[in-house]
């Protein structure tokens, strides 16, 4: 074990950047699973689909982040369609059918994965940008620009979604659906349309998250499997549906993982991250910022 305060500081710094990346890739799930209670296990697969779409769009000369933003409306529509299908075939038939919807989302994830293999092959795909592969040097410290980009996007996404959910009418309606769906119905609002809209937002956000993933590292079709555990861990640790909680949970996981990777035993990193989740849930079953 190597220890120095310099190294500890750097581990925390890398952890903050990594944590923000984890928050960026989990925030869409925080809306779909955390607020809407939809067992959206296909979220990472849609995100990787977003990475591949980013790969295509950057081929036309666009910057990867800009590509992610450009793709968001198309992914929003895709999300609306997916939710509509899920609602008609599973959710409207009651809670039990909703649980069976888990199989639907697993199926969707497999279809996306196989589709990507057929379309792109199994080779890794990467994108090029000025901030990929270079770093910011401050004294002896070097901070990868790609992680700084993920940091910035995560903060911006969290801020925008928090403002949207608390300050706009539709945003408040989405929160209301999460809290008391029958009451919202009595108020004259259509919960299905609200949920459809929210699921569209969650899927739109996953396009930008996908752009983040391909900026941080190369992607391949089966990569979604790496993110299932981690994204659900962040959302549950945060407390279902909390945007600021998602950022905080991402930071906790990122910092814990970075310190363990750099200074203790790297093999322990996943155990420490998920151990933290168990401890937090033991003390606060509703998560850090749960309702």
């Amino acid at each position: 074990m190597i220890f120095s305060f310099d190294l500890l500081f750097e581990a925390v710094l890398f952890g903050v950047l990594l944590g923000c990346f984890y928050a960026a890739v989990s925030i869409g799930l925080s809306v779909s699973f955390g607020l809407l209670d939809v067992p959206h296990v296909a979220h990472p697969a849609l995100m990787i689909f977003g990475s591949y779409c980013t790969f295509i769009v950057t081929g036309w000369g666009l910057d990867p982040i800009l590509a992610g933003v450009v793709l968001m409306p198309a992914f929003f529509v895709l999300g609306v369609l997916i939710y509509r299908f899920y609602y008609e075939t599973f959710e409207r038939r009651g809670t039990e059918a909703g649980v069976r919807g888990l199989a639907f989302f697993f199926g969707l994830a497999f279809i996306i994965e196989v589709g990507l293999i057929l379309g792109f092959g199994v080779d890794q795909r990467t994108v090029q940008a000025a901030y990929i592969g270079s770093s910011l040097s401050i004294g002896d410290y070097r901070i990868p620009y790609r992680m700084l980009v993920a940091f910035g996007v995560a903060l911006l996404l969290t801020f925008c979604l928090s403002i949207y959910l608390s300050k706009t009418f539709t945003g408040r309606a989405i929160k209301a659906v999460a809290q008391d769906e029958p009451a919202l119905r009595l108020m004259g609002a259509n919960p299905v349309r609200i949920k459809q809209w929210a699921f569209g937002i969650a899927t739109g956000v996953s396009a930008l998250a996908g752009a983040m993933v391909i900026i941080v590292g190369p992607v391949e079709p089966a990569m979604d499997r790496l993110y299932i555990g981690r994204t659900f861990c962040v959302v549950v640790l945060a407390g279902l549906g909390s945007m600021t909680g998602t950022l905080a949970a991402g930071l906790i996981l990122g910092i814990a993982e970075s310190i363990v990777l750099m200074m203790l035993g790297a093999s322990w990193a996943p155990a420490v991250a998920f151990g933290l989740l168990l401890v937090v849930l033991g003390i606060r079953p509703q998560g850090l910022f749960g309702r």
Binding site: A11, L18, G121, D123, Q124, P144, V216, P218, E220, A269
Partner: protein, 421 residues
Amino acid sequence: MKDSRRKVLKAGAALAATAAASTTFPRFAIGQSGPIKIGMSMPQTGSLGAGGQAALLALRMWVEDVNKRGGLLKRQVELIAYDDQTNPANVPGIYTKLLDVDKVDLLIAPYGTVPTAPVMPLVKQRGLLLMGNFSFQVNAKVQHDMWFNNAPWNDASSWSDGFFKAGQGAGAKTVAVLAADNDFAQNLANGARTLAQKAGIKSVYDQNYPPATTDFSSLIRGIRAAKPEMVFVMSYPNDSVAIIRAVNEIGVGPQVQIFGGGMVGLQFTPIMTSLGSLLNGVLNYNSYVPGMKYPGIEDFLARYTKRAQEAKVDPLGFYLPPFNYAIGQMLEQAVGATRSLDHKTLASYLRQNEMKTVVGPIKYGKDGEWANARVVQAQFRGVADKDMEQFRKSERQVVVYPDAYKTGSVITPFEKARTAK
């Protein structure tokens, strides 16, 4: 009546003898109908999928070639391959299906150590011939006497010896070891640790990282803090790309003489092309690089490139495809010479004879690994970005070990090698 009873008894005896022969005696294929089935699982998706698909294409090319020549024992050859998704948990089930449902005649192992390890107990228990496919030391503990690996290495020293010698030649006395937490990397890492200890090289950093590691910046920073003079990395393709990127961003320190060693993936064309100039200076193992001369390899690679473009797999195919084609060639020679599909007979032939393949002559040792290892350590130099064709030139990967294939000397330290042409 007597006659007819005798006929019935004779027919019954003949039937019993046939039934007994089919279970007791070796299976002779001559006169049998239907194709000879060769079965395998292959990672076609997941982290080894890119390599697996390229390897599978080469095997299919051999099947087409051998069928054009009339097949094996005058029977056509059929290859049955299932995708194991680079998930070792899927492999035993696939091989059980191949044997019990598909009734295959011969078996080939999946590409890679991790997917191969779970099938070893099965083939040992059933006494079956298994042609290995670029795995590392999976037979070291199992000691199956019908295992024959197509990979050009044998023990750990055959893989890492060249790396350590290059480092020691540059005056390095300390090493950092970074290894993935899987069978392949751990087998190699244990061998490397033993070698380093014997050579008096001090270990200043030794970490195993979990397979789901997202970003390697923290690990590379840890290595930099330990100030090693050699960095020996054993990683799988996705990790290798992330590690090379992190090294470029964070740096490993000016004292590092050589970096690399056992990074899987830096032999695959799409990865080499996408990393481009970031590869410069890395000293890594390889099975084949342009400039190594074997009868038939250039013709094979020319044919392979055309097929690979259609199939959207590794277009250069230096690393795995020729060695997979060689598996077919070895089976063809063994079956042709023994006129048999009996696994013991074939294993005995493979053990005693030198095989002629597109990757040169192969002679097996007692453990089913190559008697004379042929792993090269090659240093990337002068690699430009976004240019796949450059890797056809021998100057881009300079072989520094072994002497028989040497095309140049290693450039040290690592920082200097990164800018060398």
